[in-house]
């Protein structure tokens, strides 16, 4: 096995892993403030890509203008989803919430199918299609965008949660909803915030991957599942642990496909998911649960 091959596997893995991480973060933000696994998260990834496509093709906006519009619209959808489907719930038991998010994802996917049809679409790349050579390996400029934007968003995310009042309030809700309510934090508003942030994250992920992997009304399912794996490996933290989880998943998939067999690629990632759920349910990097209480 030559070095340049290994490097290529590694870089491909990092690029895919960054996407998984970004989607995974969306899962954990909502989980931390509400205790819900939002199974509609993948649909925001799909919405981001397809909306950006519509803004560039139908409204003829340049890409730099279409992207914020697409993020804004899918964030709006995320907020509406929380207001119309999550908040009115009288007895929010986990099982109800899970069923509602699954139902929501089917609804969003169905409507998108009617709007955009069943075809696969491609978004133009942000900056050319000339491959960049790193060592003996090559990556597309879009890969660099993906990794860069992921890192940027995660640092913003970190700053928000640890250095702003509303971020701290959201963390407080994650630790203890009741206590947070008692000290005057509007818990329901924080839940709405968490949906807004995570749908924005999801749509960004959908937009930056669309030029490379293409997009269609049903891409949310698989990407959502992989993002969920990343979040589980990271122990549902909304910080670096999920990023590490995503990267680990991406690299293992790509190494597995390259070195073992491409037939087992998905099996490898799901076996890891199962092992982690069995032996380290608090995540690969997490400490045990008791600390939270």
């Amino acid at each position: 096995m030559q070095f340049d091959q290994l490097l290529q596997f590694f870089l491909s893995g990092v690029a895919t892993g960054a996407i998984y991480a970004l989607i995974g973060i969306g899962f954990s933000i909502i989980y931390n403030s509400t205790g819900i696994i939002n199974f509609a998260q993948g649909e925001f990834v799909m919405l981001g890509g397809l909306l950006a496509l519509s803004f560039t093709e139908l409204l003829k906006l340049p890409l730099w203008a279409a992207i914020p519009c697409a993020i804004a619209v899918s964030t709006l959808v995320g907020a509406l989803f929380e207001r119309l489907a999550i908040r009115p719930l009288r007895r929010p038991t986990p099982i109800n919430l899970v069923i509602i998010t699954i139902g929501g994802s089917i609804l969003i996917r169905g409507i998108s199918m009617l709007i955009w049809g069943k075809d696969t679409h491609a978004l133009p790349p942000f900056s050319g299609e000339e491959p960049v050579i790193i060592g003996g390996a090559t990556v597309m400029p879009q890969h660099i965008w993906i990794v860069g934007i992921t890192l940027l968003l995660i640092s913003i995310n970190k700053f928000y949660f640890f250095h702003t009042i509303s971020g701290k309030a959201m963390r407080a809700c994650a630790y203890n909803r009741r206590a947070a309510g008692l000290v005057g934090i509007d818990v329901r508003r924080m839940v709405l915030f968490s949906f807004i942030i995570s749908s924005a994250f999801g749509s960004v992920a959908g937009i930056i991957v669309a030029p490379l992997t293409m997009t269609a009304y049903d891409v949310g399912v698989m990407l959502g599942l992989k993002g969920f794996c990343a979040a589980i490996i990271g122990g549902m933290s909304s910080g670096m642990a999920t990023v590490a989880g995503g990267l680990l998943l991406g690299i293992l998939e790509s190494m597995g496909a390259g070195l073992i067999s491409s037939g087992y690629k998905d099996a490898i990632s799901f076996i890891i998911l199962l092992l982690i759920l069995f032996f380290r349910p608090q995540g690969l990097f997490g400490k045990s649960e008791s600390e939270r209480v």
Partner: protein
């Protein structure tokens, strides 16, 4: 309340079916995967069948009798396909069925049509549908091994010896993989790499990096969009310069759009003549018919026609021909289809026989090369 509604709905529908049954028409059933993962097949098939039945009726029907299409959506689900086939035969009393769209569904429906003695013209590609030959079952898409043979013939001519395979892990890909390996062995090619990818995978650089290390003479990729488009981009990214062959599964302009004109430059693939009817010689017996089909499809639905819709075109053509010559009872239709000789249609020129219920050979395909975002014929 709901119960009452259901009862009303039931009464409503039964009135309609009773009324329908009294009309003197020839009923043809259609089973297509209009929604779900195989909708790229089912949707153009359904539209084509509707369009053709309307055209036939506008011209006065077949021997004075009007046709009626009863079409159901199977959503690509074999269980649904079986239920709907039974419904078509028992409730709608169709004389023949066109579809289903996928091989899995077709295999599931075969026992029913064999038992009920209703001709089935499948629009799915899998060879096992008609091999071994079943009395009541036909299919219009050319066999995968014909496309595989076309690719390998071209490789032989270009003196390429070792192949890397990259196939998708669904039924289309695994059937192609088997056929390619079998024919490659027969013709003395070396299969140096045998890689696969999932239908929803978004990055195939690991597989291609491995292939690049092995240095084969050519890569053959077998799949339907979007996978092959991703692979085409990945090949460009990795700077792989050996010939890249695709299967007939991506023989539409959409593939070039998705992969990008740049990355798709030089990609070769076998394709039905529909994709290239405007560059065919005037003497080609299919040229006029292909143009008419494409124009009509565009006029009716506002999008370009596809090879998949063509499979339904073939099925309606064969059925209509059989009814015209022999009559509209199920056995007459069956014999009529089996005796179809030199019937030009979209997928090729059909020559059915009791031993061949597909009737297409290697002439159904042309070898194409993508040059500057458009198809060119390889002579």
């Amino acid at each position: 309340m709901r119960k009452i509604l259901a009862v009303w709905l039931g009464i409503f529908f039964s009135i309609f079916t009773i009324e329908d049954a009294t009309a003197a028409t020839i009923r043809i059933g259609g089973l297509f995967a209009v929604t779900g993962p195989a909708s790229f097949l089912g949707e153009p098939e359904k539209k084509t069948m509707e369009m053709m039945v309307k055209e036939l009726n506008d011209r006065g029907g077949i021997n004075g009798a009007k046709l009626e299409a009863v079409i159901y959506d199977t959503a690509g689900d074999a269980t649904k396909a079986v239920n709907l086939a039974t419904k078509l035969i028992r409730d709608d009393k169709v004389v023949a069925i066109i579809g289903p769209s996928t091989t899995g569904e077709s295999m599931a429906v075969i026992p029913i049509v064999e038992k009920e003695k209703i001709p089935l013209v499948s629009c799915a590609a899998g060879i096992k549908i008609i091999d071994p030959v079943k009395r009541w079952v036909f299919k219009t898409p050319p066999n995968d091994h014909v496309a595989a043979e076309k690719i390998l013939n071209h490789m032989e001519k270009s003196r390429l010896k070792t192949i890397a395979l990259l196939t998708v892990t669904d039924s289309y890909g695994s059937s192609g993989r088997e056929q390619l390996k079998a024919i490659a062995k027969q013709k003395g090619f070396t299969v140096a790499a045998d890689e696969v990818y999932g239908p929803k995978d978004t990055d195939m650089t690991p597989q291609l990096t491995k292939i690049r290390g092995i240095k084969p003479d050519a890569i053959i990729c077998w799949g339907t969009n979007p996978g092959p488009a991703v692979i085409t981009k990945n090949v460009k990214q990795l700077g792989i310069r050996i010939p890249l062959y695709m299967s007939h599964g991506v023989a539409s302009k959409r593939y070039i759009e998705l992969a990008g004109t740049d990355a798709a430059e030089g990609v070769m693939l076998p394709a039905g003549k529909l994709a290239v009817y405007d560059v065919l010689p005037k003497t080609d017996p299919q040229a006029r018919l292909l143009k008419e089909y494409d124009m009509n499809y565009r006029k009716n639905y506002g999008v370009e026609s596809s090879t998949f819709g063509g499979y339904a075109y073939d099925a309606v053509t064969l059925l209509a021909g059989a009814i015209r010559k022999h009559g509209s009872a199920s056995e007459q239709i069956r014999r009529g289809i089996e005796e179809s000789r030199k019937v030009p249609s979209v997928s090729g020129i059909f020559n059915m026989s009791p031993n061949d219920h597909n009737g297409l050979d290697i002439s159904a395909f042309e070898m194409l090369k993508i040059v500057r975002g458009d198809w060119t014929l390889i002579r």
